[in-house]
Subunit: 412 residues, 2 copies
Amino acid sequence: MKQSQLFGKTTKDVSKDETSINAQYLIRGGFVDKSMAGVYTYLPLGKRVLSKIENIIREEMDAIGGQEILMPALMKKEDWQITGRWDIDVMMKVKTFFDKEYGLGWTHEEVVTPLAKKYAKSYKNFPFSLYQIQTKFRSEKRAKSGILRGREFSMKDLYSFHTNEKDLDEFYDQSKDAYFKVFDRVGIKDKTYLTFASGGDFSKYSHEFQTLTSVGEDIIYICDKCKIAVNQEIIEDLKGSCPECGNKDLKEEKAIETGNIFKLKTRFTEAFNFKFLDEKGKENVVLMGCYGMGPSRLMGTIVELSNDKNGIIWPRSIAPYQVHLVSIGKDEKVITEAEKMYESLQKEKIEVLYDDRNESAGVKFKDSDLIGIPLRIVISNKTLEKDSVEIKRRNEDGFELIKIDKIMNFEF
Amino acid sequence: MKQSQLFGKTTKDVSKDETSINAQYLIRGGFVDKSMAGVYTYLPLGKRVLSKIENIIREEMDAIGGQEILMPALMKKEDWQITGRWDIDVMMKVKTFFDKEYGLGWTHEEVVTPLAKKYAKSYKNFPFSLYQIQTKFRSEKRAKSGILRGREFSMKDLYSFHTNEKDLDEFYDQSKDAYFKVFDRVGIKDKTYLTFASGGDFSKYSHEFQTLTSVGEDIIYICDKCKIAVNQEIIEDLKGSCPECGNKDLKEEKAIETGNIFKLKTRFTEAFNFKFLDEKGKENVVLMGCYGMGPSRLMGTIVELSNDKNGIIWPRSIAPYQVHLVSIGKDEKVITEAEKMYESLQKEKIEVLYDDRNESAGVKFKDSDLIGIPLRIVISNKTLEKDSVEIKRRNEDGFELIKIDKIMNFEF
């Protein structure tokens, strides 16, 4: 992509309401545009990042046997009355001109449970798990922290269905591993803790995945021995000790919830009378788990964790482009060489953003740091004197000169 | 994918309200599930088809320079009041518990115009075009015809921005070609006509893409000489003649609108006071075009056009899987060979659905025809006697026997 044609310019002009780093950098870098409080447009750079995160999550959900579906955002009022959640504050309510009323999905148990019930009747149909990556809506009174807590956002929600607790437990453990694979691939595993949280009426605990960051709204207590954490909401019940090893020397930290998994057991299957016939022809209530992870929230969290005073530092796996090619100056030779390199990189299927704008070196470098593509290639008169280009990694200070005719041997 | 584990069984049990072929076959085949009137869940098979259609559209929009973004579904009431469209019937309105009111997107001129205005100020920034593939909501009083006309559906909407009419005209013509490339790739080009329709206040004509089908709600008049059509709404104005050649011998047909393109010119840019500075530093109003195409509607249309009495016949480009591998009987040898072939096909990156269910040949063939995967490979005792498998194309009657050790040379 030629930067002169890229929609979404870098800007210094960000509202002071946007106090979080992710909002500041994502807006300044031209990744997102704030449409209104808690509601953002993903511009071309931001859409690329979001799609990459979604694809990583998709691959890991597929790997544990999750089957992708797409449920509607419009929801039947009657189904939410069955579970007693129609009048919960977070639910946005929709009206048509002919006075039909819908709920707008902020979670999908009320859709997926009756759906699964239609198709799975015998123990032979179990276990199975369904997921979607879809837009969710939440009536948050105070939308804040950029794309970390929006009124409209991208969500992956997976639901699993089982005939017995052992099977649910096994899948639940697999899902933990899958979540950590995602965190690993997007570069935030080191800062992310499996965190014990309240299990509600049906389970002792649920688990959150909490990622350490100063903008986090949650307080967690870390056990350094077990590398797990406890959410503030249950720390008193646990008398301040680690639920795994009993260690009382826990460290208080601020964190953001980047995922959660929950053994719902029969909470929703009972409400919808979802039963299966077992081997003996007897009816039993189906057991259920739910597993959430928000791609847009992940994107915001990554920006919070991976930046410096000049801008974002994208991990390679989710960077909008792999290479930022920057030409300096208006000399014909520079432009010719830059165009040639742009073509070559594209031919090699290397994703490249080419800053072909008629701007000063200062402006170009500043924008390049802000946008945060992992690798920068600079072509200027100075580098061409040595038949070379300058290569710099966004997360390192130094740079190296590489001969132009050797560039395609470079490990991008 | 092993069919025994696939979520979404085939069924005979479809409501009589569903009179259209697409709804009947898509529900019976386990592609979609009706959540309520006009609102469907895409099950794993259906989600695969929908994603493939979306990707084809994405590629063709990218090819004409469209830049993908993702705008929100929640919309600012004030922006719709500016254009006078807040109280249009199709708009679903959303309320939060704290009495904030939003519109729910059925089109996005009211979002994209102020967005584009923020970033494009000089003639140097033009032309450009932005698109998204996103869920749209419409308050249709009578949702009908399966996924052809829903209350919630997938839509690709592209918007282009120009400094002069010539430039708008050129892009508009490019978009026509891009649309026909999509129709070609999904197998409905032969039945699809560029159709002259009303241009509103700003243009003489707009253009629709109308695909011939008996469930279509539109009446069009085809000129066989020019291979174009005229929508009923303007045929009287044209005194029943072709706008290109004047031919009066037009053929009346039923069709469904599978795309539309419209020169909006200054309809929205004036409302939002979206101007650019020209080469002389003078302010001018930006010109605009919009270009819509619904992936879910395309999917329904393809089913309407490509089926027989036994089920769907998917074009290869958008089939949920390329190969339907079917094992017949319970003999160990059959199962071993089928499993081996399943592995081999997967290794070759051929998308395969493997019917490993413990069902009769009759049930399996019936389901296979209903699901409509382009190529079927059958392994049975009978075929193994000849060290062969039986290969049948869904759109042909005959089949051929192919030696198992030659199967990987076969052109899938």
